[in-house]
Amino acid sequence: GNLVDFNNDLQLHRRLRTHEKREMQKEILSILGLPHRPRPHLLNGKYNSAPLFMLNLYNTINSEERNEVDGILDQYKSMFTTPGPPLATSQDNAYLNDADMVMSFVNLVEYDRELSPHRRHHKEFKFNLSQIPEGEAVTAAEFRIYKECVSSTFRNETFLLSVFQVVGEHPDRDADLFLLESRHLWAVEEGWLDFDITATSNLWVMSPHHNLGLQISVETSSGQNISPREAGLVGRDGALERQPFMVAFFKVSEVHVRTAR
C-alpha cells in the first residue's frame, strides 16, 4: 500500500481504493506545485544526455543520502553500454548550491533545414522554455555539446567553434545572428564543452517570441567552413548520452502560495 505506519498500533498498511489513490495523487501533485501529472513522450528520451546529466546533479546533492538512491541510479546507469555520460563540472556544482531548481532542455530540431550556401554547415538548436514554473528566475544557463577526438583529415587541425543566438528570421534571406562566444578547439580534444547562455535564456524566458534558438559554425585555422561533425562535435546522429542539450539553474523569486481547494 501507499501508507505504511510502522509505529502506530493501528497499522495503516492497506492498499488505497481507486478514488483514494486519485485523491492522494492530486494532493501530492499540489505539494509538488504541478497542475497535472506530466505525460512525457520518452521513447529514447530516458537514455539521453540531459536526463543523465540531471541524474548526476541529483546524485551530487543527495551524496549524503547516497545509500537510499544508489539503487535507482545504478538502474539507470546500467542502461548505458557506451562511456561518456555528461558529468557536472565544479562550476555546475557552484550554481547548484545556489539553485532551487535545475532544468535540462532537449534539442527540438529533428531535421536540418536547408540554409544558404554560405551557412550550409551551420547547425541549429531549439529548446522549449515554455514550461518553466512561474516565479523562477534564471541564475545561470549553459549550452552543452560533446566533442569527440578527430582521427581523420583534420587530425592536426585547430578549429574555431562559434555559438550564435538567432535574433531574427526572414523568409527570403539568412537569419540574423548574434555571436555569443567563439572558442578554439584542438582536433584531438574530447569531452563536454559548455557555453554560458544566461543572458540569452533570460531573454527567452521573459519574451518567448524571441526564442529562435541557437546556431553553431566551425572553421578550420585556414578559415574554411566545415561541418561540426567533421570537427568531432556530436549531433543528432551521435550517441544518445552525448546529445547536445541546454541546462538552466533557477532561483525562486516569488513565494509560492498554494491555492485553496
Binding site: 502506530n8 501530492i28 509538488l32 520518452l42 540531459a50 546533479l57 541529483y58 546533492i61 531548481m101 514550461q131
Partner: protein, 138 residues
C-alpha cells in the same frame, strides 16, 4: 530542579534495562505514551502512485507526520513552545472554550525530486519542508 533531573538521567542511562528504549524515552505510563504527541513514520511511494514513468528519482520519500495529545506534562523528550505551555494552562482553566496546543512539526527537511515535464525536459527541484524530522506542541 535541573540538578536532580541530571542525576536521574545519569541513573537511567546506567540501568541495563533502559538500553533498549531508544533515544528520548521517558517514564510516563504506557497509556500516556501511546497518545502523546510524537512523530509517526509515513512513506509516500511514487512507484505505488504509478508515477515511475515521469518521476525519475526518488522512488518515494519518508514524509512522516505528527499525531498525539499535547497535555500536561508536556513530555520532556518533546519540543514544546513556551506558548504551548501557556495554552495548556488556559485549556485546563477553561477546557470548554480553549483547545489544547497542537501537535505539529518542529523540524522539517527538504527533498529533491527529479522528473520529466510534458516536453521530456528534466526538472530537478528542491522542495522545502517535505519531511517531518521532529514533532512538538505549539
Amino acid at each position: 530542579s535541573t540538578g536532580k533531573r541530571r542525576q536521574q538521567s545519569r541513573n537511567r542511562s546506567n540501568h541495563p534495562q533502559e538500553a533498549h528504549k531508544g533515544p528520548g524515552h521517558t517514564d510516563y505510563n504506557s497509556s500516556d505514551q501511546k497518545t502523546a504527541c510524537r512523530k509517526h513514520e509515513l512513506y509516500v511511494s511514487f512507484r505505488e502512485l504509478g508515477w515511475q514513468d515521469w518521476i525519475i528519482a526518488p522512488e518515494g520519500y519518508a514524509a512522516n507526520y505528527c499525531d498525539g495529545e499535547c497535555s500536561f506534562p508536556l513530555n520532556a523528550h518533546m519540543n514544546a513552545t513556551n506558548h504551548a505551555i501557556v495554552q495548556t494552562l488556559v485549556h485546563l482553566m477553561n477546557p470548554e472554550n480553549v483547545p489544547k496546543p497542537c501537535c505539529a512539526p518542529t523540524k522539517l527537511h527538504a527533498i529533491s525530486v527529479l522528473y520529466f515535464d510534458d516536453n521530456s525536459n528534466v526538472i530537478l527541484k528542491k522542495y522545502k519542508n517535505m519531511v517531518v524530522r521532529a514533532c512538538g506542541c505549539h
